[in-house]
Symmetry: D2
Amino acid sequence: MEIEFSKWFFDEVNPHLLQLHAFEGMIYSGKTKFQTLEIMKSPVFGKVLLLDGKIQSSEADEFIYHELLVHPPMLAHPKPEKVFIAGGGEGATLREILKHPSVKKAVMVDIDADVITISKKYLPEYAAGAFEDKRSKVYNTDARKWLAESKEKFDVIIIDLTEPVEKGPAYLLYTKEFYQIVQSKLTENGVISVQAGCASYTELLNLKAVSHTLKSIFPIVSIYQADIPSFGGPWGFTVASMNLDVAAMTPAEVDKKLKARRITDLKFYDGLTHMQMFTLPKHMRKATRGGRLITDDSPLYLYKG
Amino acid sequence: MEIEFSKWFFDEVNPHLLQLHAFEGMIYSGKTKFQTLEIMKSPVFGKVLLLDGKIQSSEADEFIYHELLVHPPMLAHPKPEKVFIAGGGEGATLREILKHPSVKKAVMVDIDADVITISKKYLPEYAAGAFEDKRSKVYNTDARKWLAESKEKFDVIIIDLTEPVEKGPAYLLYTKEFYQIVQSKLTENGVISVQAGCASYTELLNLKAVSHTLKSIFPIVSIYQADIPSFGGPWGFTVASMNLDVAAMTPAEVDKKLKARRITDLKFYDGLTHMQMFTLPKHMRKATRGGRLITDDSPLYLYKG
Amino acid sequence: MEIEFSKWFFDEVNPHLLQLHAFEGMIYSGKTKFQTLEIMKSPVFGKVLLLDGKIQSSEADEFIYHELLVHPPMLAHPKPEKVFIAGGGEGATLREILKHPSVKKAVMVDIDADVITISKKYLPEYAAGAFEDKRSKVYNTDARKWLAESKEKFDVIIIDLTEPVEKGPAYLLYTKEFYQIVQSKLTENGVISVQAGCASYTELLNLKAVSHTLKSIFPIVSIYQADIPSFGGPWGFTVASMNLDVAAMTPAEVDKKLKARRITDLKFYDGLTHMQMFTLPKHMRKATRGGRLITDDSPLYLYKG
Amino acid sequence: MEIEFSKWFFDEVNPHLLQLHAFEGMIYSGKTKFQTLEIMKSPVFGKVLLLDGKIQSSEADEFIYHELLVHPPMLAHPKPEKVFIAGGGEGATLREILKHPSVKKAVMVDIDADVITISKKYLPEYAAGAFEDKRSKVYNTDARKWLAESKEKFDVIIIDLTEPVEKGPAYLLYTKEFYQIVQSKLTENGVISVQAGCASYTELLNLKAVSHTLKSIFPIVSIYQADIPSFGGPWGFTVASMNLDVAAMTPAEVDKKLKARRITDLKFYDGLTHMQMFTLPKHMRKATRGGRLITDDSPLYLYKG
């Protein structure tokens, strides 16, 4: 084995499995009020954003993550006008949302203003101007609190958060109580999508718990997944709704809707991708059943359950 | 980050990306005439077989690999009677082949007798008795030479080899010249499947070269993939044929054929899985186009191209 | 950087410094009643014994550790007849003690019988027959308890224990209360030597605390150290006595005494070595001053203080 | 094992032994004309300078290295007026030399101007003003060429170079031919000191070869060593002279000379340290004998011999 680099970033997939990324240098390194924030330069993935030591996105494959999280719920909704993002720091989720011409208002609530400021400076191609769009409203406060107090309802709510770490900023945004608030703030055909963690066959704890908890509120819940190389394997997402079956869109429907909305620049998502990512292999269909209920009193912590 | 184990196995995904597996102990460690052979015990994956330091299969997810490699070509063929395996040491490929009731003879040519002997002893649940089946013929010689000199033709040929390492035992079984031999030994509706290496978006060198080289011989070639956790991400395979379009089978057809052949114990493969694994996301459809031609004079080496 | 091996053992020097040892295979791996026990084969150090994941000794350099721990106190004592070892599992401490012709009885109390049994089987060259010597008495019980209840006194007491890990078998054998027991069981010119942990300039916590605690009981206490490559750097030891100044022996005296006792086969220890290892560089003389008191109520834990 | 940091620097002690340093951030990272240059921030060692991925010095323990390299030859010489440094980038070797009041001229020839510029900016406390001292003359060219062409002779010559890496900037400054040039440029009582690599018992290749090669030119050659924690263990140095026996100075002589020269601020070096570092334990006296001759035609490369 020949190893060319001497600086390595240790990403814990689980306590028995580490992924080591060589990196060429640090572009930024600091602490915000809520978390550590680092941007490293990887020879494979380009610029990589890390919060509390976990990879959030990389230049090379952030398009997978952000298209995946945004377009299924947006496209399933007949005419999304108001969209809410919990988290979303880098601005790439906002960027994808604004591609849908019906959108009139996109509210993004990320507790950590520094993530936005530093992303704007060092990762400007992520937001690609989305923060300057007149339809964007950005607030730096607790997303749960903001949503609970909101008088507005939303057509699509996108949960784009860091993973639930003990005492971290996000663990109370993965609970049944939070999803109840979300449900109460959705319009009639509203849809929610959630990044839900690792989707590797041997590491399904988070994904199952998030899905199971969503099922306690929403009648229609679907898991979907894609390989995100910088995350070290397949990553899981969940969509949920009271009325709409996001997963049921056919490849032809997806392609037709994308065309109707004049969304032509996607690199990851199209009709075939939609079908592929909502179809799980047999062992995964079985393994993703069940899961535990996450509540405020019994939260979920990464690696710990 | 809390790390519970002190013994780690370094698996090189590429020179900039390492996967570290904790392991509890070594079950076997030795050198054969051709390669190093180790069996370690992983808290995540159970028994793990390594040849020349690369993971070949693990107890926890070998079913994915072996079902994936065997059933698509076997099922696409209307009545596979004679099957050839290049490599296949542990016997699990043989195990899956013998599930098809039409099979009369399964020839397995693995250069390394020790891999078979040691797998029988330490990994008996892999072959699950397949070596003792009367239909099985096992030879320990060079698979290319054996096939070139064979007077028989085969309905399905399965290439289940270690990756092409410089001076390793397998690199001349990835070339155009070898695939020409394979083509000449296939019956009219013959199909070949090949394990073709990493299918991660940023590591497609091997998969593309294998597919491109197969396309120089066969008119119908399809890439397919699945996440194999112990391999550290998605793994790529290719099927090729002069006449049969393996990928084109519909989910219903696959399920019907499996039922007709009374194959009811698969954990990974069924109709939906077939559709899912032959459908690549948009960026992968684009990224897997092209590739270089592998020839005896210009072989492909892992990590080097 | 070219890395030839794929199996690595992680040795934590401190939470910010890891030493990774490549190893070729595991010779033994198991759990005793008290700790995990592993013997690995290193291309650099040969057989390496690990207890609870910490390196205890290696074939290549155990002679340094064992000569260092045993001969300074043994030689300082005019005529050691009765010797006590707390710990000492592999038998190499016993081996060195028995080289002194005046020894009539060497009592070794190691709580873990399995360490002895497995060392005898896999590391027979460590004890080199010492367990079979008629002067050796081995007990498998708690060394503190045994010593407290002993009616005998000893000329030399050697503390050859694993490091003090929380809930581990040894942490109550590093406290003031234990050293008080030791002191009460020493004959008039009795000497104690203690392995006291890492002696690297940036990692002196254990060494200082052990020395400081010994100083609360004994008027004459000296630190000494040597580089033990398999331990990842310099290792610290302490000798203490009510009367004898071990460190003060001159090179000539040491060599003369060794000759008088007909000890001619040492590889590490002689007069010059004695002088060298009891002389600390200026910064170490300063840095090893002070330290905290270790008591039963306020024990010391490795890495935690 | 609990690991608190996620960014690690891999330092190869040898191909079977790695030292991993956690680091908090990169202070500087770039490429000069000759080598990569990085400054990282370690929680243990503070600022750490790396050239071509090898640690050169750290804030926490550079005093050991620089005092060790400079003061023994300077003090052995009765009145060093002209001093030459081959290498010496950070300026700390110069800093120590200038403490000797007899010094009239200190010539430093380091091929890499960028190392000096960047050290001045990010590591100003290393040189501590030495570059601005009127006695200092700094040239950025090949030290061997400069010395060969020099019409001046020097009282002390200090070889403070990176290790000999294939195609690296320094490997021709470790050969017999180079030491011949050095010898011809020394004044009558001239002394040379050389940093000569790892002094760990299992890794003596470089140290022995350097000493052996010096012995082919100089009648009086002594090895000495000290533990430098950031280097991962004991480090070896060699002094050589036609007339002076540096090692033979007694502790009292050293202390007296330091006092006479009013050098009162040393942290590492004094009389006892001198004695300690020139005295090797018995196994090291034996193991450091012999070695191979390094010549221009048969150079020495790190790890390769």
